[in-house]
């Protein structure tokens, strides 16, 4: 049984075909990447997989169940988490609270006990808080625990989203350009973080522009172009694929790849 499989998935926006008959399956316990030029449909594909968009056609199955048409919160409950290319941070909260919201699924949300301030609610909240502090530590945000999210720099917010996604203890983590806009040092940190997350048993599906990052961490790569799947395979296979080179990588990347493996 694959972790995630999509079958002839389609999405149209008016006349724009953002995703066209895309099929693939990813196995548990690996890092998979989706690459492709800007506008190739990568983010749209994520939005289809995690239920933010309803597909125009095709099916999505997650952990062996057909989940087409389920809402994102239902997919979250089944073990799917994600981050956003354009940040979706709770700017009305602190960093810590952002991550605590990530623990929502494991929290006690009964109305009356919450309103009456039952001790079990406060106890649960203390545990959630401790877990959130831990997660912020894991992504290297110890210095920002009590900071208002609105006061945090871009690079820290990228990591905050990852911590929040991890708080739900997902089986599958979708990362949409986690290194976009980061400097090389920050990118290396994200690189290591992704590998740690995968080593802990979380399956990662990564959309990334930073080719170096993708080639370094991915077990398998799917290439999208104009909404269609162009190629799929290991980093080496994809790198040598002439269609991929023509569409996306260009000669510079191919040369870079060659020199690194020389």
């Amino acid at each position: 049984m694959s972790m995630l499989s999509v079958d002839r998935l389609r999405k149209e926006f008016g006349g724009v075909q953002a995703v066209v008959e895309v099929s693939f399956a990813i196995e548990a316990g690996r890092i998979h990447s989706i690459i492709g030029p800007n506008g190739a449909g990568k983010t749209t594909l994520f939005n289809l997989v995690n239920g933010l968009y309803a597909p125009s056609g095709g099916r999505v199955s997650f952990l062996g169940c057909d989940v087409t048409g389920l809402r994102p919160y239902e997919l979250a409950a089944r073990g799917m988490a994600r981050t956003f290319q354009n940040l979706q941070v709770f700017f009305n909260m602190s960093a810590l609270e952002n991550v605590m919201v990530g623990c929502h699924l494991k929290s006690d949300t009964r109305l009356l006990p919450s309103m009456l301030g039952w001790p079990s609610i406060a106890r649960g909240d203390r545990a959630t808080r401790a877990r959130a502090v831990e997660l912020l530590h894991e992504v290297g945000l110890d210095a920002w625990v009590d900071a208002d999210a609105a006061a945090m720099p871009y690079g820290a917010l990228k990591r905050l989203e990852i911590a929040r996604a991890l708080a739900a203890e997902p089986k599958l983590l979708l990362l949409d350009e986690p290194a976009a806009g980061l400097n090389p040092t920050e990118t290396r940190e994200i690189d290591r973080l992704i590998q740690r997350v995968a080593a802990a048993g979380v399956t990662v599906l990564l959309v990334e522009h930073d080719m170096r990052l993708v080639m370094d961490v991915s077990d398998r790569i799917i290439v999208l172009n104009f909404g269609r799947k162009l190629a799929e395979g290991t980093a080496q296979e994809v790198r040598r694929n002439p269609e991929v080179i023509a569409a996306y990588l260009g000669t510079a990347a191919a040369q870079g790849a060659g020199s690194r493996h020389a």
Binding site: N50, G51, L52, R71, P72, Y73, A76, A77, A81, R82, F84, Q88, V89, F90, F91, N92, M93, S94, L96, E97, M100, V101, G102, C103, H104, L105, S107, D108, T109, L111, S114, M115, L116, G117, I121, G124, D125, T128, R129, D146, R164, A165, A167, A168
Partner: protein, 316 residues
């Protein structure tokens, strides 16, 4: 650290409010001022509830006077026409309003922004029309008298008695909503204010939590309405009118959105001032508008949060 700060602000705030309620009578020269204080308390209860919806969950309602009116009329009609005991009528009114709000909330709260404002406005207007039209039951535009509130054979009468009852109810409301806000439910409310997309993605059923905030805030309004009916001894459809809904929203915005004590302060200032400065009365609409615009421009976070930020700056 932040936690301890929060707990202190919370217990400290509750204690301060209790203290104000306890010593305020020393400054109230006569029954008129007691009546004003009771009205402040009742409006504050509505605003504390409404703030859960507007300030925390980020959803607007321009129809909450409808729920206040329904609570008031449920108590009035059930006690006067059907001879129910007042506490039972209050509970029945609150339950009925909860059910109505629950049924209305799903379709209404699917809307956003202006559309949500219009839909809740329409809801409030329909409620007030129904109250106006059901003349055999409600007395229509003339209103109807309401029997006193009797609890275990004890009749609660007199402005001073009501002062303590409403004071207690207000403390209870503040305590309940502080508990809620500091629980995972309250965080979910704030999350859907911050980003609905992110909230859904971390597993929050946003529709469910919007409905929850709507129902809870409606129940606060209904209970305040019931208490108002017995306190005033007479209810008219004015209580359910559109202008009242706008007053409630203005109080929440003026006092400070997403601030429980801000809602109390907003209700206090905007209820007491027009009562005490009676010259102001003819210009109530204009004054409300000016306050709303002034607040948005001068202190967009509301009075209490802005003052708190100012004092913090001075302390440093």
């Amino acid at each position: 650290m932040r936690l301890r700060g929060l707990m202190q602000a919370r217990t400290g705030g509750l204690l301060a409010l209790a203290l104000v309620i306890a010593v305020l009578p020393l400054a109230l020269p006569n029954n008129f001022y007691y009546q004003v204080a009771v009205l402040v308390g009742l409006n504050a209860i509505v605003c504390v509830g409404l703030n859960l919806l507007i300030g925390y969950a980020g959803q607007i309602s321009l129809g909450h006077a409808g729920f206040f009116g329904l609570g008031a009329y449920a108590s009035a009609v059930l006690t006067a026409k059907f001879g129910w005991p007042a506490p039972l009528a209050l509970v029945a009114g609150a339950t009925g309003v909860a059910l109505l709000a629950f049924v209305l909330a799903r379709p209404i709260l699917r809307l956003k922004g202006h559309y949500l404002a219009m839909a809740t406005l329409g809801m409030g207007i329909i409620i007030s029309i129904v109250i106006n039209q059901e003349i055999p039951l409600t007395g229509g535009p003339d209103g109807m008298p309401v029997p006193g509130f009797a609890l275990f054979g004890l009749r609660l009468t007199g402005d001073r008695t009501w002062y303590w009852i409403v004071g207690g109810l207000l403390l209870l409301s503040v305590w309940l909503s502080l508990n809620l806000i500091e629980s995972p439910v309250g965080r979910a409310f704030r999350a859907l204010h911050g980003s609905e997309v992110a909230a859904e993605t971390v597993g929050i059923d946003t529709a469910r939590f919007k409905v929850l905030a709507f129902v809870v805030s409606a129940v606060f309004a209904a209970v305040a309405g019931s208490a108002f009916a017995h306190f005033a001894g007479f209810v008219t459809p004015v209580e359910a009118q559109f202008l009242r809904s706008i007053e409630f929203v203005t109080m929440v915005v003026f006092g400070g959105m997403a601030s429980v004590f801000g809602a109390v302060v907003g209700a206090a200032v905007l209820t007491a001032l027009p009562q005490i400065l009676t010259a102001f009365h003819d210009y109530e609409m204009i004054a409300l508008g000016v306050v709303l615009i002034g607040t948005m421009i001068l202190m967009p976070r509301g009075m209490l949060p802005s003052l708190a930020a100012l004092t913090r700056r001075w302390m440093r």
